[in-house]
Amino acid sequence: MAPYFTSLHAGVYVYNPLQAQISPVPPPVVLTVLDSPLVPFNITKRSNNTIYWSDFEQTSPDWLARRGGWWISANGYKGSGASGQDNNGGIGGASQYYLNLALSSYVEFYVGVKIRYTGTGWAGIVLINNNLNRLYEISINPSGASARLNIWSYNVESLNGWSQLASSPNFSYTDQWYTLIVRYQYTPTSIIITAGIYSENGVYLTSVSATSTSNRRFPAQYVGLEIDGGSAIFDDFVLSRRSPAYLTVTGLSPNAYARLYDSNGSLVGEEVSDANGTAMLSVVKDLVTGVGDDGVLQIASNNTSSSAKTSTPLIGGEEYLVSSAKAFEGYADPTYTGATVFFYINCSELRLSVIQLYPVSAEEFDVSLILESIEAVGKATFNITLESSSMSSSPITIVNGEVISPHTSTLTLRQKGLKVVVSGLFFRSVYMAKLSVEYCFSSKSVCVSYPLTLYGLGGEKS
């Protein structure tokens, strides 16, 4: 009995009063969910201006040779092209390769083509009559380091003979691809032909215009390629109701940059949209983007750049509607100390500023992001960083649902604030990521954490 008594009552207990006075304060740091930029996610052709186009990737029965040798060669502007060798056997002693498509119902159309010609004769576009015995020729005529752009007629102004209707001033000429754009207009009293020529990098060189009022003038029945002397290669042929020199993009935000890239990643054209969200891109560098498909339209606005790919060709003269949607939407709680964000659009190249943190008081804090948990169905892949105007933290990194790095490095929050930036395939799979924004005094005496919840709604391919 004695040991039990001892253990039960042997303690000495001392009671020291302690008081905790809790005096809450408003949040010294608040956050807001930023407006998402409109992100393009689809491109659809909204016009039907193209009468015919070809990038000469393969031999087509649509084309007929009027003498000369014509074949599809591998050395086109990009991919294959149409090569021709004059044999003096076609109309006017030249050689034509014409599109077997009747055009007499058109009172106006445009023809664009890329051409590479190292001969010293003439090479270009022809407009041919129904009987295949008269033509208008719009051609370049090199002479050493310069060339002229000419408009000729055969068997129109001169019976069974050539007649030069117009000739441009000389322009500098080298062995490169040129783009020839021709406008044809039929009126009851005349045929009006206007043509412009551009260098390989899209620089305008010169233009020429002619009006044929001869009694032997004719409405163009066929359009074709022509070589009169030597050989030439042609590519990206476009016959259109609108000038193929321009591609119209609608559906953009005002003042957005629209940039068109071909499948090789080369910039074809760029333009800033007007107040209506329409941009007219010069595409003389590549009338048919890419090798017929895989063009990429990049839209940049509000410091955010994203791209929409298309599996259909982007052809000069057409109008394309870019469908856009907000990449994310979210809300902060009423105290601006927590936020929830939903991601809708998948775009791997996007870097989206999602949340802005800014101090209410003049104090500076060390801020970091911490991934508390993630529940993902599928392979969520994204990065989350903190960014100031001049610095970026190391990221939270999630690859295929695996957390590679669960927190960011620390950035100092000053008056200009910090942004939470999300990049990667954040829409690809369904997930819920819970994060904390933690800010502390540099001494770590006090740290405050705000909750962030990110939802990916899934449904898109990468």
Binding site: G11, V14, L18, Q19, A20, I22, V25, T335, S445
Partner: protein, 190 residues
């Protein structure tokens, strides 16, 4: 004879009285030697006592001259606010003591969803006390080693219902508690 009767009556009365008041009082000598000693366990400031708190305030830590009572004033905000090392318990004795906290009164209204006091021995958490529950905590005694120290952290979580970015969360006030320490860890203190 009259005098004899009187004496007889007085004698009887005395005998009767002695019968009524018959208690026996016995006195043994005993000594309680009260010898006050300096407190073996005291409050001392933590590394972040009286340092910056939110919104231009100070983490106020007031400890009386004897080190046996303390008052801390903290200024949390919405969501989770964590205070590190704002108070310490120091053992001046070479023997181990055992520590608990008794919550006498707490905050019961407003948006205060969580309030915790955490004991750290170095970087190791050795005890956690729910400041919103008025009882002796934690369940087990926290060991305060001889000549050792325990750091005290606080954690608060405030909900945001009805709040705004320009107003403090509701749910402030005073939490009264006692630090209880003992030489023994085998029983519940009285």
């Amino acid at each position: 004879m009259q005098a004899g009767k009187y004496i007889l009556g007085l004698t009887v009365a005395t005998i009767l009285a002695s019968i009524v008041f018959a208690s026996v009082f016995i006195y043994y000598p005993a000594i309680v030697q009260v010898s006050p000693t300096s407190p073996p366990v005291i409050f001392v400031e933590g590394s972040n006592s009286n340092q910056r708190d939110l919104y231009g305030t100070i983490i106020s830590t007031i400890i009386d001259a004897t080190g046996t009572s303390a008052s801390v004033t903290l200024h949390p905000t919405y969501q989770r606010t964590y205070y590190s090392d704002v108070l310490r318990i120091k053992n001046l004795d070479s023997q181990v003591y055992y520590v608990k906290v008794n919550i006498h009164s707490t905050i019961t209204d407003g948006n205060l969803a969580r309030a915790k006091l955490l004991f750290y021995d170095g970087a190791t958490k050795v005890g956690e006390v729910d400041l919103l529950t008025t009882q002796l905590q934690p369940g087990g005694w926290v060991v305060l080693n001889g000549n050792g120290e325990l750091k005290i952290d606080f954690e608060f979580i405030y909900g945001t219902n009805g709040g705004s970015s320009t107003t403090p969360p509701t749910g402030g006030g005073t939490i009264l508690l006692e630090l209880v320490y003992s030489t023994a860890n085998t029983e519940t203190p009285p």
